[in-house]
Amino acid sequence: MERALSDKKLIALFLVPGLTVFLIFYFVPILMTAYYSFQEWDGINPMAFVGLDNYTKMFTADKSFWKAVWNSVAFLLTGVFVQLPLSFGLALLVSRKMKGRKWFRNIYFFPVVMSTTMVSLLWVKIYDPNIGMLNTLLEAAHLGSWAQAWLGDTKTALLSVLIVTTWHYVGYNMLILFAGIQGISEQYYEAAKLDGAVGWKAVRYITLPLLSDVLRICVVLNVIYALKTFESVYVMTNGGPLHSTTMIALKMFQEAFLKQNFGYGSALAVFMVLECLIIAWVLNKVLTREKIEY
């Protein structure tokens, strides 16, 4: 067995089937999508080569494209600067040795196990301006002036969707960070305690540095999730009102499958793939640092 594991050719041979499947079902469709992005094609009639026209249209003529890019940025920033700190805070809380911490951990994680469609539909009802729970509660609390048409107003729709996605996935990051915190040896905290580093100082000088690899993974996952958000927006607003919540993935779907512009839809897909790859690569470069050891 050990001999087999040291034989690089044999290892490569065993990897071939998996790699082949991966190439067929991942890289080939991406390459074909790139090919379609240079065509005008309705998915039925013969394609017509249009060169970079779809990309020109995307960057210059499609008004909602830049709105979608901005919305992706909003999702990204919320994921990194709101959801992640919240998750970290929750992970710290449930890491403490206190009564019921397992129960709290499960409660915070519970939304993650619910399907995005279900969560989105639930919140559509909560946000409903006419019969929804949120406005009713605000009115009951004599805060009726705060009541809004949450998903029906261009000013509040994006924020409303962001709140839902944050609520939905905060437990996911919490669990990853919690596992990371559990992996930090207690002896570091005990040593730090002797030096007077307790409470926030222990978090600042022990927990955060030792969690850096886990945090990096969380940031990359959050960013990629943000850039390809589809389901929650599709169910809650369908990109509206007036494109205020549209996303690249949603536009791609609408162009390809509703407007039957497979060529332009493919161009959007290529943009999304490149966007994800470039940002993930940059993040990896920026966030990679030497491993800290105490």
């Binding site: 006419n130 261009t154 007036l242």
Partner: protein
Amino acid sequence: MFGKKLGVVAASIALSSVVLSACGGANGNEGATQNQDAKAAEGKESVSLWMFDADPMYQAAAEATAAEVGVDLNYEYIQDETYKTKISVALAANELPDVFQQHAGKSYRTPVLQSKTVAPLNDTLDSTGLGAKFLDNQLVKEEDGNIYSVPSNISTTLVFYYNKKLMSDLGATPPATWDDLQALVSKADDKGIIPIALGGKERWQGDLLYNLLVARQDVNVFDNAIKGDAKFTDAPFVDAAKQVATLVSSNAFQKGFLGSAYLDAQELFKNDKALIWIDGSFNFGALSKAMGDNLGYIAFPKTGAEDVYSATIGFQNSAAPYSLFVNNSSKHLDKAKEFAIKLSLKLNDEFVRKGLPGYAASEVKSESQNEQLSAYATDISKTAKTQAMWFGLLSADTGQEYRDMTQQLYGGNLTPEEYTAQLETLLRSAE
């Protein structure tokens, strides 16, 4: 370079896994095919059918037809909005069921015909003699002389429903004119009642309301503009757009209506929260069942120069009606054709039974209608013109752009003048 089917499947995979999940249940067809194979092994032929009409009447008619034709039926109901996506993917990938329903309108019908995946029905219509049962012009003959579809629905139109209880609570009467409508909207709004429930999320309700407001200004202006004899910036288009803006500014629609789903908005009407509901006549049955005598109906008010019987907005046009198509790759093509034609006639019987004008000869006697449906049938018989909804006359691409634009009018992002100017550009360039 690549095969069409391979291309679409690959594009679908690459475009996104989430898209596939939105299409929901693409495996249904595979399941149907496997089931079909199993049934075939037992000696009985099987037919798979996709439908988007939620009325239980459709499934009952399909099951009765299957029994009559002697086939096993794999019936799949798919929610309307999901259906539009699913069918376009299935068409492109040639993964269609044996028989499927398709929406009315050019943007839905043209891709089906262009895909060359549907079978001509002429031979079966002739050999069974059933073709003679369809009334004149109800079977659409395409350019190649073939008939590729049979009707699956009668002509349905836009209807002005109102909630009788709320109308009575307001001490008001249904509006007959634009001024009446404005006064009623104002009165309802003052009393905290939603004047008009509108599902803005899907966009089509607002779009059709605008179509009707234009038709009330000038019954022929849209046809003339499309032909190039008038402009979309002419007074009737602008005036109707101003009426939309007036309705929005006078709180005629519920809070957040642009984000409201059609079914959610309908619930407001059914649950006595909204006074008026503008929807298709296809919903008479469901609304009557839900609301009983509380459901009111009137012909849409005279909001412009034209009278109330000048025109209505139809969900289909004679060249692109709601239809049943047969997949030409069906393993049981002859049975599938026979099934589709007989199902169309069975559905016709059901419409006639309800007292509605059918599209084929029927020996079924009409059952007594409720008062509202009876009034609607009378009004329709008096209506001079059924203007096909504009969306149904446009290509998929242009139609979606047009609906986006109309939503911007409702959202106040475009003034009536800006909106009609953009309409002129869009629809003129789409000619």
